[in-house]
Amino acid sequence: MPIIPNKHPMPSQDPKVRAHNFNEVATGYTEEIALAEAQRCLNCKNKPCVSGCPVGIDIPAFIEKIKEKDFEGAYNVISGYSSLPAVCGRVCPQETQCEAKCTLGIKFEPVGIGRLERYVADRHNENVCDNALRPQPNGHKVAIVGSGPSGLTCAGDLARRGYAVTVYEALHTAGGVLVYGIPEFRLPKSIVAREVDGLKRIGVDIETDVVIGKTLTVDELFEMGYEAVFIGSGAGLPNFMNIPGESLKGVYSANEFLTRSNLMKAYREHSDTPIMKGGKVAVVGGGNVAMDAARTALRLGAEKVYIVYRRSRTELPARREEVEHAEEEGIDFRLLCNPVEILGYHNPDDRRDPKNGFVTGIRCIRMELGEPDERGRRRPVPVSGSEFELDVDAVIMSIGTSPNPLIKSTVKGLEVNSHGGIIVNEDGLSSREGIYAGGDAVTGASTVISAMGAGKVAAKAIDEYIRSKNN
């Protein structure tokens, strides 16, 4: 049978339609497409794709199961490695991970591994009621700080080994970045809720409204009888550029903008939480979060949305699919541009003018790429005299975060690096016995799957630690 050179395209909502709703953009493969796509997998001996997966899913094995139409078997293969398959199938940057290593990808397009994973997970979720099989308790307690991808993964793996696991979450809903950060149109919240419910059914206790470092400290958790603590508290405070005008009304961090829309449901008609809707919006940054913010602004009714990014297209850190989706929806990419000032309205004759202090525009300067920096990315250099203005009503800063100070300031002896990230060894162990950490709290802003990988590694290490201590 001849090889089909290209991936089967992902069925999606029409860009013109989806730009005005919060329903999921990609609607998912049908069984027919999934079977055809699975046939593209060569099932090669050395399985290079597996080495590209941060949690090491046996990818050819689950694709073989799809070929056999044993979809539940395929699900069982994936769930042996990943606690959140329906999430990862949607948000993993497959093009730089598993699919980047695919043998087929040398000559043609790689197998659509992420799309197949999503199909298998969605089919399972629609048709199978998970057994609430509670593992035999082993009599040991572990506390998890934060219910994002690393915390949920660590909690699931430990609960399945028989540990009594409590997850402490600062916000009122479990899921971390999966609920406050990633929008509904990319990751429906019902999927996150289902994954969280699955953990509850195997006995994981989730305590919302508890801020570790404030309501309770890590040391108190040990006093309460937890034998180990995993810190997956996430990335933390948003960065700003320190340019004039960043305090004007209408300047948001991406965290704030997305939290208002996703967690607080400000996109709904009668939400109690306000957000700026409509007008023209500039999003500064080129990562997944910037794409999410831009596309959210569009769906909230913006007439024009710009992405302002200081490097060129090839350096955009976002998933390729997100960039393509954003472009299809009409987001205007202003590449090789960097903001130098945010402009605001000021009526010198009337201090009470309600328009005072609101954003009116953003002044940018054009950039060109110079010599590569220490990470090999070409450094953007401003082109003198090339400044220009964009008329906008809101600016969303999406240029990364700095670690949250709450935990490190309340845990004595916890070592952090110069960026404030918790220092851990290859097992996720911090500088203090019994305290493990992973995800953005360690690495700074990264991906869902690498956080899950860290949660998984730490769960294994915590299990070994508690066993060795009690032997």
Binding site: A170, V211, L237, P238, F240, K249, T259, D272, L406
Partner: protein, 285 residues
């Protein structure tokens, strides 16, 4: 869910509630705040801790009925529950080494100023309180302040309570007469804190103010509560009230910017207030 153990009207626009929240009560200190949500669809709002009883496991809040959310909260009865109550957040007011303090409270800000005054009094500090309200019928916590204050200046805009005038008047007189404090702690509307600071700056009198900006998560994630301060090196810095504050050295804060930022959603809030008003009226019928 968090139970409302007690509810009292302090004046027609200000309500006291004691909430069953043992974990928060165990840790709360004056100057810290909590974030609450009234119901599943509600917004998250910050309120400063007005008191706590560690043994009973209760935390007190005092709030002014200003918008949709506080209206909904005020519609809750004693014995009913609110959805979320998280804290204590922010840093406690610094009281170490303070022997003589002047507490300046404005309006409902007095609800926050009172636990600070009480703590200082309990620690043996000499407390001078200056409290200001628009008029007599808006006065709260008069007896409570009286008990913990060595001197108590009562001020009102219309002269119906104490002296007619602003809180800065007695403060000016004290400072002008050579009186100095280890610290002046001003809590109230930003405009009041700004004018207190203009006064104390003239005398180089150390002053702490408590900021209450718009917040969402309150734990150092969203950056909504940011304000600009001038560092010791003279450089402007962005600070976050939720994790760096809410107390700040008054001489470093850009008050005008904070006032401007607080009106970001004024229009939305006006609409929401009107809608909620109509809703409650409809329910009464």
């Amino acid at each position: 869910m968090y139970r409302i153990l007690e509810k009292r009207e302090l004046n027609p626009t200000v309500t006291f509630m004691s909430i069953d929240a043992p974990l928060v009560a165990r840790k709360a200190k004056p100057g810290q705040f909590i974030i609450l949500r009234v119901d599943e669809e509600g917004e998250r709002i910050p309120l400063t801790v007005a008191g706590y009883d560690r043994e009973k496991g209760s935390v007190d809040i005092i709030f002014q009925i200003v918008g949709a959310t506080t209206m909904k909260l005020n519609a809750k009865k004693q014995g009913e529950n609110i959805c979320d109550f998280v804290g204590p957040l922010g840093n406690p007011t610094e009281v170490d080494g303070v022997k003589k303090a002047c507490i300046v409270g404005g309006g409902v800000g007095c609800a926050i100023a009172y636990p600070v005054a009480k703590e200082l009094h309990d620690l043996g500090c000499e407390v001078t309180t200056i409290a200001g309200f628009r008029s007599r019928d808006l006065v709260i916590l008069e007896d409570e302040f009286d008990k913990v204050s060595d001197r108590f200046y009562r001020m009102s805009d219309d002269g119906s309570w104490g002296e007619k005038g602003l809180v800065t008047a007695p403060l000016h007189e004290l400072l002008e007469n050579g009186e100095r404090f280890d610290v002046v702690i001003a809590i109230g509307p930003v405009i009041m804190m700004k004018f207190v600071t203009l006064e104390t700056r003239k005398y180089d009198q150390k002053t702490i103010i408590s900021m209450n900006p718009i917040m969402i998560d309150g734990t150092g994630m969203c950056g909504c509560c940011r304000l600009t301060v001038t560092g010791a090196d003279g450089k402007k810095q962005t600070k976050f009230a939720c994790v760096d504050g809410p107390d700040f050295d008054a001489f470093t804060v850009d008050f005008d910017e904070a006032m401007m930022r607080s009106t970001m959603y004024a229009e939305f809030e006006r609409h929401a207030r009107e809608e909620t008003c109509n809703l409650f009226k409809a329910e009464v019928k």
